[in-house]
């Protein structure tokens, strides 16, 4: 589903060049739940942003379902972000002046659905993450875990091929983190959602099929997990 070949990301020029990604290659299959781990500065977030088309690679190839997406023009990248990819930010990245439902259904409206249809889709997505009855609340009226679940609802409402999550539990306590990870697990198991999650918590890997570990911009290890491991 995702094929990454020799992906590089450099910042700056000359002696000041920082090599965030030094040419990484891997493949992710449909329906996989993958954790990307590594120390701070190892390149995991940089990779995720490139995969979600929020940033550009300096070099290398990146295809999703056979489509070379890294070289798409901005208008198509925007459409791709809207329809094919869901992205969950570490700090939720909700629009504070929008209710939970509005934060979710704005994307359906962007896709051309009617307001009524978008609203129904948003309520379904919010229900899927356990936020029934909280659709009218604005982010300030929600707990950290609830905010992150709204962000997940926003990401999954459009039924994307792949869901990217950048340290989704970084600002959450254990209870809320478990709630969020349970949602991911359910999405993966029940709906076959492909999920790529950046994390630095080891216990999060209990939820995933595979762990790719980064070190200094390169892949240190790529391990598939078996049940109970």
């Amino acid at each position: 589903m995702i094929i990454v070949k020799d992906l590089k990301r450099y910042y700056g020029t000359g002696d000041m060049t920082v090599k965030a990604l030094k040419g990484v290659s891997f493949e992710i299959n449909k329906g996989e739940f993958v954790a990307i781990m590594g120390a701070s500065g190892s390149g995991k977030t940089t990779l995720l942003r490139i995969l979600a088309l929020l940033d550009d690679a300096t070099d290398g190839e990146y295809t999703i379902r056979g489509l070379e997406v890294s070289s798409l023009p901005e208008a198509e990248r925007s459409y791709y972000r809207l329809t094919q990819v869901g992205y969950v930010f570490q700090d939720y990245a909700l629009i504070n002046e929008m209710s939970a439902a509005e934060n979710v259904y704005i994307l359906s409206m962007m896709e051309g659905k009617s307001k009524k249809e978008s609203y129904t889709t948003a309520l379904e997505a919010l229900a899927k993450v356990g936020l029934e009855g909280k659709h009218d609340r604005i982010p300030d009226e929600l707990s950290g875990g609830e905010k992150q679940r709204v962000a997940i609802a926003r990401a999954i409402a459009k039924k994307p091929d792949i869901l990217f999550a950048d340290e989704p539990c970084a600002n959450l306590d254990t209870v809320n983190s478990k709630q969020v990870l349970d949602v991911f697990k359910e999405l993966n198991e029940k709906y076959g959602q492909t999920i790529v999650m950046v994390t630095h918590e080891l216990w999060h890997t209990d939820y995933v099929h595979r762990v790719i570990t980064f070190q200094d911009g390169s892949i240190l290890s790529d391990e598939k997990k078996t049940k109970g491991q």
Partner: protein
């Protein structure tokens, strides 16, 4: 595009609905002052212009004035012209006048003036002369040895310190008048007129027959024929009809005359008006831009997030266009309320100008429409420019500043 508009409208709606109300009130207040600044001074100048125009219509020119052609001093067939004019549909009244230059002497004080010979009873339908006699009475049909003197000449009104005058002449006093052809007459002052403008208060009035007699005319001449129409705004049509009726003299509407006469007087005010409008527009544009720009900068992260989740830059730009248009619409509404309140106040308490003239600002619908259109155009530009600039930034820079 429809989706962009819908999403842009939703973003703008949420921003207004749940945004900071104090900020909204402040923005609307500032915008209302910008609008007020655009319309208030022109309204005052419009009031001043209207006042002068009113004077011109009420005294020397009426709605339409007919004057001799070329170098001729008189309209030689004035009665025939009058007959043709009065027969034109839409003409309410018309009269003939004879103007003459003269000096007026009273107790060794001499002043130069234009003396207008008029038909007193006809003037009641033509001008305000009969109604501005503040001492004594207006001329009668048979008045021959009587004169009405403007307050500035008489020295009884405003301007006595500025202009030469006869030293507080009162009704009943005798004055000697020497006409431009050397003929001397003595008149009893019948009344003092106060028109609050020099074209009236520096003049004098006598019976038409008196000027005719002094200059040896034959009862058919006039220096002008002054016409009033039934319906305001029909002057130009009636001007054409008078021409079609066979009047070959020079025919002017009050607007033609005012344009030439008031132009000069209003030039300075007009320059101030234009400068004020330009400055207001520049200040207004800058303020609207600054307000929206600060607003956009505060929402830079939000713009990045919206882009990151797939909202098109066009939707984002449109949302700010809608938002700034909404702010400006509220600003215009508040500005209109302020403006109309001020108009009401100044209608009831006119500004006194030149000690005698009371200026009430005029509400010019065209000016209001122009100012509203200008503000709305500015708002769209001011909303689009900064949002467009931020929406072009990379997502990472917008969200995380790098």
């Amino acid at each position: 595009m429809i989706n962009d508009i819908r999403v842009g409208a939703l973003i703008a709606y949420c921003s207004v609905k749940r945004g900071n109300k104090k900020t909204l009130i402040f923005i609307v207040f500032v915008l209302s002052l910008i609008f007020l600044n655009l319309v208030f001074l022109p309204s005052m100048i419009g009031g001043l212009s209207g006042l002068f125009t009113g004077f011109m219509r009420d005294y020397p020119y009426g709605d339409i004035v007919i004057e001799p052609t070329g170098d001729n001093t008189y309209i030689n067939n004035a009665d025939l012209v009058l007959k043709k004019v009065r027969a034109v549909e839409g003409v309410r009244a018309a009269t003939k006048r004879l103007d003459a230059g003269a000096s007026i002497n009273h107790k060794q004080k001499v002043v130069g003036a234009t003396i207008t010979g008029l038909l007193p009873t006809e003037e009641y339908d033509i001008s305000r002369y009969p109604y501005i006699i503040n001492e004594g009475d207006f001329l009668g049909e048979l008045s021959r040895d009587e004169i009405i003197i403007g307050a500035m000449i008489a020295g009884t009104g405003f301007g006595a310190e500025i202009y030469d005058n006869l030293g507080e002449v009162r009704p009943g006093a005798l004055v000697d008048v020497t006409y431009s052809n050397g003929v001397k007459r003595t008149y009893k002052v019948k009344g003092i007129m106060t028109g609050s403008i020099e074209v009236v208060d520096l003049n004098a009035l006598v019976n038409y027959k008196e000027i005719e007699d002094v200059y040896g005319l034959e009862g058919k001449e006039a220096t002008s024929i002054v016409v009033r129409v039934n319906k305001e705004g029909t002057e130009a049509q009636i001007q054409d009809k008078i021409r079609e009726a066979g009047v070959n003299e020079e025919i002017f509407t009050w607007a033609d005359k005012s344009e030439a006469l008031i132009k000069q007087a209003m030039q300075s005010m007009g320059a101030i008006d234009i400068m004020s409008k330009i400055v207001s527009l520049i200040v207004g544009a800058a303020l609207v831009l600054i307000i929206i720009y600060i607003n956009v900068l505060n929402r830079k992260k939000e713009i990045g997030i919206l882009k990151a989740v797939g909202i098109t830059p066009r939707s984002i730009v449109l949302s700010y266009a809608f938002l700034s248009t909404f702010y400006v619409c509220l600003g215009i509404s508040a500005g209109l309320i302020l403006y109309l309140s001020l108009m009401l106040y100044f209608q009831m308490n006119p500004v006194t100008f030149y000690e005698t003239m009371e200026i009430s600002p005029t509400i010019d619908p065209m000016l209001l429409i122009q100012s509203i259109a200008t503000m709305l155009t500015l708002s769209v530009i001011a909303g689009i420019l900064p949002a467009w600039s931020v929406s072009k930034e990379s997502i990472l820079k917008a969200i995380w500043g790098r």
